[in-house]
Symmetry: C2
Subunit: 441 residues, 2 copies
């Protein structure tokens, strides 16, 4: 990025950069809505009790206190804090509003979240996430696991980010395999496998044998499973060839096959079965998703998620869900940093309406009103400076057209890129379609 | 509102309510961009030092602290807090990025802000503001004061809020008048006049004579000035008739005349000169704006602002500005509470693609893809329940059309409102234009 944030971890964009971010958000919104997801927003704050239910993330949370209030008890569960993701607030929202929602409820949510972590490349303290989830009342058909992978593949394909891989795995497959192998603590195995990319297979094997109680052969097979990665359903054969049997493994293989076979047909090359995906400590119970930008693997996952047996619960009621979360700020910071695309101009205006003299302001407003009436964004000069200065005003902002109204009431419009100047009427002149909207290319 | 926020002062909307809020935000965005305003966002946090420069609002600020951090010093000016408006962050942004911006810089900004105040009807702890400002480097032509009134009148006219009045006054007019009257503390007079609506003219006169040192005649004239309200420039004559003369009064009358004469032509009936508008303690130096919803005056101002001689400054550099801020949440809560408009449905989907049997899922996805390709939002049934149940799914969400694919490969689409069912082809069937987008009426 050209500039450094004045507050580390809290990026802010210049107007032309914001156009790119806005384009990303608009594109996601369009695709999510085409797939029938309704938008909601939740408040930025939750009670600390709500946020800390998943104990291990407390260090990342920003607590809130009114500066005018007396010193507060940090451990008060009713005190407020900023949300650190959109899943916890969504779960609360679903429980609170269950009586007003139609289940399965499919929603998207694009909001800022905050984490007090140490900022790094692609990791921020304030950042925007774009989440889609489907949540059921009591049960949720598995076909949603397939549908969400397809929706996200559609959404990411529409973004100016180049090629990506949505890597999918299934917790039942992994757990069934480990249990079939005779390893009774599948979570511990998963935690070790999760470190594969960081520390390599040798060290993972060491953890498995010394800490998880696996034999060398069990460790080898667990690593062999994690090494399977296919863009079609051939992973099933490869798993079977490892000679492990378990009922849960069968279910997991079947579920993952459904996702991959649908995806290989509808989003060819975008979705792969990658049996190394573990998603660490998150509370997923079936399908898990992770996404890398091809050529930007070091950025980490730009879109992750999975299936929860119980996204939320109230009393005996549970709400299973499946969802994914796109790291919008991470993506946008990379798009801007690598200049993958940029905005055509720094302002929405297509036309700058000049003033021949100070008395022409009202007439110029009439021109502007006629253009706006037809959806053409424009600005009127604020004073009748020399035309050269007025043209420079437009040029500095990338406004492609300047408008002149002559003393005899006729009009001309000039494309300041080509210099071409033509007669025009504010009630029917149109800019080329490519100029009408501030495009991102 | 139908439901009470689970956390007082932090409203959350149901999906169909969010459609209304989104409509308001989309409409504002469209109008602001047609008028050439570029969008920016600023981070949610500022340093406390930055926020507390206007001393008197400290009680409303939410401070932030990482829960894992050691106890912090509340008085540390580098500690973080949530912004309470968009003006202070914008001023900082302008100073920090001055070298990258083209002045006069016109921007709009629509974000949440937070205030730790006691919640009341129309007053929230978390709420969305939509601000437009133009800021100059060193100077800013007065014509922007006119243009901003017209832009806001355009924006508010496009919202589903009924009639409104943008009331405009001018601090120079008021100060010149008071000084011409012989009152040397115009701020004290303004503060008293600001209470007019709350406590009435008798009590204001009492304050003016006992606390501000005015004679009975001076108090009478100050109140007479505040009583002037016209929808054309006739206020000038009425002020002149009070027999007060001052150079600053002349300037103020001229400036306000420019706003009102332009507005009476371009936004007839929407903008009035209201000489009672004081805008309390805000640091305005010329034009001041306030807006009431006709029939909802108790809601307070829904859009306020004015001209700052120095919105921001750095060393000897000053950045004068003029801007207005719309209270989006206040407006939306009233629109929803009074059911002024509502969304046609709770989901974006126009079509629900049914399944005749479980094997039909892929075929149904083909139908959905063909519809989405042409911008028609749709969902595919997740399992092949009885058609009655599938239709009920659509009906509960207000999805107007259900799609059937028959065993022979032909398709039919049914409008579940009218019951009409017709043959259709996914590559060329279109819903009526009024159904395509989830409309707000």
């Amino acid at each position: 990025m050209a500039r450094k944030a004045s507050l580390s971890g809290f990026p802010e964009w210049l107007p032309a950069e914001r156009v790119v971010e806005q384009h990303v958000l608009d594109t996601l919104r369009r695709v999510f809505e085409l797939h029938g997801f309704a938008n909601i927003e939740t408040r930025a704050v939750e009670t600390r009790g709500q946020l800390l239910r998943k104990g291990e993330i407390d260090k990342e949370v920003y607590g809130l206190s009114r500066l005018a209030a007396e010193d507060e008890d940090k451990n008060d569960p009713n005190a407020l804090a900023l949300h650190f993701d959109l899943t916890v607030p969504f779960a609360r929202y679903v429980v609170e509003n269950a009586g007003h929602l139609a289940f399965p409820f499919r929603r998207y949510q694009m909001q800022k979240v905050w984490r007090g972590e140490r900022p790094q490349d692609g990791r921020f303290r304030e950042f925007t996430q774009a989440d889609i989830d489907v949540v059921g009342d009591g049960s949720l058909p598995f076909s949603y696991d397939v549908e969400l992978a397809l929706t996200i593949a559609d959404a990411l394909s529409a973004l100016p980010i180049g090629d990506f891989r949505l890597r999918v795995n299934n917790r039942k497959l992994a757990e069934g395999f480990y249990r079939g192998l005779g390893l009774d603590d599948p979570d511990a195995v998963l935690r070790a496998i999760d470190k594969l990319e960081k520390i390599g297979p040798q060290k993972v094997a060491e953890i498995l044998t010394t800490e998880v109680g696996a034999t060398a052969e069990q460790a080898e097979k667990a690593l062999a499973l994690a090494g399977i990665c296919t863009s079609d359903v051939s992973f099933v054969e490869q798993v079977r060839a490892l000679g492990v049997a378990h009922e849960l493994l069968d279910t997991g293989l079947d579920e993952l096959s459904q996702v991959i076979s649908a995806a290989s047909k509808r989003a060819p090359g975008k979705v792969v079965a990658d049996l190394s995906i573990a998603r660490g400590l998150d509370y997923y119970t079936g399908t898990v998703y992770e996404t890398v930008l091809v050529g930007h693997e070091s950025l980490g996952s730009i879109c992750s998620g999975g299936r929860y047996e119980s996204l939320a619960s109230k009393g005996k009621k549970t709400y299973p869900g499946v969802g994914l979360s796109i790291g919008v700020t991470r993506l946008v910071s990379r798009i801007l940093g690598e200049e993958l695309v940029s905005a055509a101009r720094s302002v929405p205006s297509v036309v700058y309406v000049t003033l021949a003299n100070e008395d022409a302001w009202h007439e110029a407003q009439d021109v502007a009103a006629a253009l706006r009436e037809r959806g053409i964004a424009c600005e009127v000069a604020s004073s009748a400076e020399k035309f050269g200065k007025q043209i420079k005003y437009a040029d500095r902002r990338g406004i492609p057209f300047v408008w002149f109204t002559h003393a005899d009431g006729t009009h001309e419009v000039k494309d300041i890129r080509s210099g071409e100047q033509i007669s025009a009427d504010p009630v029917n002149w149109n800019p080329p379609a490519g100029d009408l909207v501030n495009s991102v290319n």
